[in-house]
């Protein structure tokens, strides 16, 4: 049976959403209060192709994080005096970031061990 194409993209975006959230949290931890465009640029600089297009997808993720209480936001003035909404990590967000980071590292460790696995190791 063929897999439906939508399902595939959905799954992909799921993974992306998860990583995107983590990237946002990390960005905010490093940069402090910053607006949406700033976050997008930063992630683009670091990750390259992930946010080169479709920067808009950032905003639903930001909204969800805010609903979960991980970040807070308020209107402010940008460096060249434009009105922009600034996002900031909350205490809960910091905790979440630590937890997620730990989890991510564990997953990474397990996966990398699997990738290092050679046929003779299993004999």
């Amino acid at each position: 049976m063929k897999e439906k194409p939508e399902e595939k993209t959905e799954m992909k975006s799921d993974v992306q959403q998860g990583t995107l959230a983590l990237m946002i949290l990390k960005t905010l931890e490093v940069l402090g209060p910053v607006h949406g465009y700033g976050i997008a640029r930063r992630i683009e600089q670091i990750s390259g192709e992930l946010l080169a297009v479709n920067q808009g997808t950032l905003y639903p993720v930001l909204l969800r994080l805010e609903q979960e209480g991980a970040i807070s936001s308020k209107w402010g003035a940008s460096e060249n005096n434009r009105r922009a909404r600034f996002y900031q990590l909350t205490r809960a967000g910091r905790k979440l970031l630590q937890a997620e980071t730990r989890e991510w590292k564990q997953t990474e460790a397990i996966l990398s061990r699997f990738f290092e696995l050679k046929p003779e190791d299993l004999r």
Partner: protein, 878 residues
Amino acid sequence: MRRLRRFFNRIFSFASKQRTEERLREEIASHLALQIADNVRLGMNEAEARRQALLKFGAVENMKEEYRAVQRFIFLDSLLQDIRFAFRTFCKSPGFTLIAILTLALGIGSTSAVFSVVDRVLFRSLPYPQSNQLVSFGFATPFSANEFLDAIDFKDWKNSRVFAEVTSVHPGGRDCELSESNPVRLECQQVDSNFLSTLGIRPMIGHDFTQEEDEPNAAPVALLSFGLWRSRYGSDPRIVGRSISLNGKATEIIGVLPASFEMPTLASADLLIPLQLNLSGLTRDRPQPLLLAFGRLRTGFTISQARAALEPLFAQSIKFVPAQFRREVTLRVRSLRDRQVHDAETASWVLFASVIALLLLAATNVANLLLARAAARRRETAIRAALGATPARLARQVLTESVLLSSLGGLLGCWLAYGLLRMFIAIAPDGLPLLQNARVDLRMLLFTLVISLACGLLFGLTPIWQSPQPEMLSGRDTQTVKRGPLRQLLVTSQIAISLILLTGAGLLLRSLWDLQAVPLGMDFRSVVTANITLPRYRYPQPAQQQVFFEQLEDRLSRIPGVTAFALSDFLPPSGRENAVTYANLQISGRSHPGAAISGMTGYRAVTLGYFAALGIPILHGRAFEKQDFSVGQNAVILNRALSQEMFGDENPVGQRMRFGPNDSWHLIVGVAADVKNNGLEAQTDPEFYITWDDSFRTVFDEAYVVIRTPLNPFVMGKWLRSGVASLDPKQLITVETMTHRVRELEDRPRFDAVLLSSFALTGLALAGIGIYGVIGFLVTQRRREIGVRMALGATPNAILKLIVGDVACWMGWGLLLGFAGSWFADEALRSLLFGVPPHDFEVAATVIGAIVLVSLAACYFPARRAMRVDPLIALRYE
């Protein structure tokens, strides 16, 4: 925690949609502005900078959708949309909406209300643990509704091995007076010491009766009912041990019964007092106290086993019953539930059945309406499907509408149920057990709501099940009218059900009519009566009682405005009176033909003005006169039934008779007309009248005052009261008009008839609405066909015939089915009917006439619409 927070945030943002939408727009603008500024700095011109910024940002609308999905529950949005749409369509066809909601409300409301009434009687569990083990047993005779036992038989029977425990109750209860500063008459029930433990009840505070307290001549004790404890003693927690004055005797309160307590006889009980029977001292040769016996079966024993075990004991006991009664006495063992509901049962089942019928009518109506609506909306559905609505989305729309409709109907129905129940309680006669405590049953409310919901869904969803047909989109309604049997079947069954309901109601109404027309044999208008019962503790001697009533007569007969005045020990038509064995009646110097007949003959003792006061005609001889009341005169007056039985057509005046072998002879001075002395429905029993001071009398503590007066009964009542109070200020008195006493007997039949008729009329209305709806729909559907017919030369009359012919056909089937059904209904109702011949023709004719009339009226308007169809417009239509 995070999820919860998000959930509430989403709910919250559902309300503040406007603001967040605004924020998103501003954020996008600011993001783009920053990007454009950066791009310009990199050397692009304004237009290119904007283009690149937009490209980088990605699809804005997609993102907005995603943003909204995160922001709040999309489901809620579309639900709101559906609800708004549903309301709009409801407003567009207010007739449909109103009818559907009313139909649902009627169905739900009346079903719930009646179920709440019937539930108390039929399905409710008794307030005793393991109540299915409780039985009532004893002798059953034609002259008492409930089984009873002689005390001495009770002593023998109570040790039967089938019972874990057996207890007894005094049948009458005992009038008792709380003889404190202001005396009150209370209901005292005398019970065995193991009464509560047999039922499985413990006093709420205090202790149960002990064996010692039940010994004859033990110090008087009493258990208070919860109601009396609360109303009279202010729920005093230290009531136990307190002494109250009961019938002039200091009585110790030993406990309080739980609020849920009720007597197994359903009699009201303010106080329980020990029976204090001396069982061991009983002998056969002395008169026995009668008892009502209740037993708890041993685990594993059934009622039929109990009957088998009691059968030999019964055979033993019946030997002591006088020979002429033996044939009429049988053994009866039945569950407590059966005893409690026995006469309410038929009425309750009838009520229940009629309500189910009504629910069916309502459901078919809703089904019909929705079916018609769904058919009319096939095009809309097809268009929506073509525009990309999934079947699930379409179904959700229908679901929303159905739920909305059912909820509105249900809401109105709840309100109706409460109203109806209050009306039922208000018009219910006292005889219906436990009705006073009836509450609207929530389970039933829910149940009917679910039924109507399911019904709405089932029929509302039909257009979704049929896959949308592309030709529906063509704009021309090419669909031919389906003559599917479903709709016709619905109409036919509606007519059948209404016919059955109406027949039942008609029979009950006819019976009530007959009942009200029963000649009572007396003129009860402008007669005021009063009951006076002298408490034994203040008037222990018969002589004292006699003196009281003599003084009373002396005083009351001088009240101005009294046309006639009399005292009597019992008063028709209550059914209560003294009785002697008919076989013991003797005529001086000859035998009478009825000597071998078993049965009892009633009698009452009256004063001089009795026949005048009640307007009872004297047929032969004369009424009592002054000289009959002097000592040793011994006069008697027979009623016509007794005269007929003893003397045939001969005039008995001047003969002598006596009531027992050791009695003195009485001179028959007259024959009075028959009076309905035993309720309205029963036949007139033979009875005779003796004078108030006749030596045959033994009991003098109770008397009815009968006063014929043209004055307002309230005024007369006041004078009566003050007259009694001047003799004895502590004496209690109950004043009633005779009219009220008579009308009271009609309460129960009236209750049944009113209920069933209101159902039947509602049912008829529903059937009418149903027929109107179906015909109207069919006419609309067949518009083109009618147009073609008219274009080809059909006259309006032929069209009328076409439409009405359909209805007539369904009606014929409906009437046929309904007629068969009402035949059975007639049988089922028999025991509730009085004087109506079986399968009464007049009722059937009236009912059928009514249904035909309503059906024709219901199809008149749609048919007229059909007759006025303009062929040109009809053919061009669509």
